[in-house]
């Protein structure tokens, strides 16, 4: 019989208590245990970036962390970005304004990567944005409009 462990995780400021197997990935905890399906599952080996979340304010792959490891850490997902259900935050608004998404599958991971990036680099160059974006794959946009969105969000924040 496999081990089950009771854990309480702090996600977007809310505590969730569940009993899980150690092998449960944080992605699957978020999606299947607490219903936060905004964190997407792409490659499940850390390459595509679709599952990027904030782990104590730093961007990380939720597919490479076991849920049992996340106790005591602050987890933030895309669901925590918007200030209200019918509103977008400034970065999300910039994505809408510049058409920075098409199918949208990669968008939550990119939003979380860029949330952390802009917090550290409020006035980035285009080169810095492209470098920060290198860990997130997008198969629709060709990235140009994503770069535009991040630069626009940074400009509006000034």
């Amino acid at each position: 019989m496999s081990q089950r462990i009771a854990i309480t995780l702090n996600v977007n400021g809310t505590a969730y208590r569940r009993e899980v197997e150690p092998r449960l990935l944080l992605t699957d905890f978020l999606r299947h245990e607490i219903g936060l399906t905004g964190t997407h599952v792409g490659c499940e080996h850390g390459v595509c970036g679709a599952c990027t979340i904030l782990w104590d304010a730093a961007p990380a792959r939720a597919c490479l962390i076991f849920a049992v490891q996340a106790e005591g850490h602050a987890i933030h997902t895309v669901e925590g970005l918007a200030p209200a259900p019918d509103q977008l935050n400034p970065l999300q608004q910039a994505f809408q304004d510049t058409h920075a998404l098409q199918c949208g599958y990669c968008t939550p991971g990119i939003l979380m990567t860029m949330t952390a990036f802009l917090a550290e680099n409020p006035a980035p160059t285009e080169h810095q944005v492209r470098d920060a974006l290198s860990g997130n794959l997008c198969r629709c946009t060709g990235y140009q409009h994503i770069v535009d969105a991040v630069l626009l969000a940074a400009e509006r924040a000034r």
Partner: protein, 290 residues
Amino acid sequence: MKPAPFDWHAPATLAEALALKAHHGDAARFLAGGQSLVPAMNFRVSQPAMLVDLNRVAGLDGIAWDADGTLSIGAMTRYRSIERDAAIAARQPLLIEALAEVAHPQIRTRGTLGGNLAHADPASEMPAVMLALGARFRLASSSGGREVAAADFFIAPLTTVLAEDEMLAEIRIPPLPSRSGTAFLEVARRRGDYAMLGVAVVVVRDVAGGCREARLAFLSAGPTPVLAPRAAALLRGTALDKKSIADAATMAQQEVEPMGSVQANPGYQRHLAGVLARRALSIAAARSLA
């Protein structure tokens, strides 16, 4: 793609972690940052019966400087912490230059220096950097400890001298002498990808400006990170001029043992070894004058 079931232990002390590993041997794996082990488990390439999670062990991470300038980095220190450390940037810039090429920021948030070195991927940047810097590794086990040179640590792809009850606990990097210059270069298909080939170099000048010491270490150039001692020997006593550097780069091409990959055949890797060695040595030589 879900990992096979395993038992998970997250001890709070090093002694507990080492005791668990000593008791369970190869059935247990240490879990550090998980950025290589967890993908392997998701693919079920790796199916350990037990994980001894080191993320809650106190005292395994941290950056410290000895009085003699030796840098000690705890095995569980995250890449993210190392790349943001101003003292390392000033005193061991090769580490920082190479870290920028290690995967992506999201991976460096979790990835640890010790986990990466113990994983011993010959395509990885840090093992080659450790050879170039002449690092030493402190290994711990429940029956004691020992120290090994980085050059003696890696023995085959994904294989090190670590015994089944041992852990890589600390990395010790000697200070760079005065009049040193370092450089790191690699060629990858995309930013953050595994390199087709890369090189880390260190050169040290004497007071007259001649080359007193040189080290070249290559990644993706053989079953382990590969040193090029004959190329280094050619550089000693030269003025690190264009011709000496070109001769050393040609020699280094003979010393690498590239195995080829889907992206680059051995001939191309050997070509890259010469080009990157020449460029990196030129950069390091210029920096050693600064």
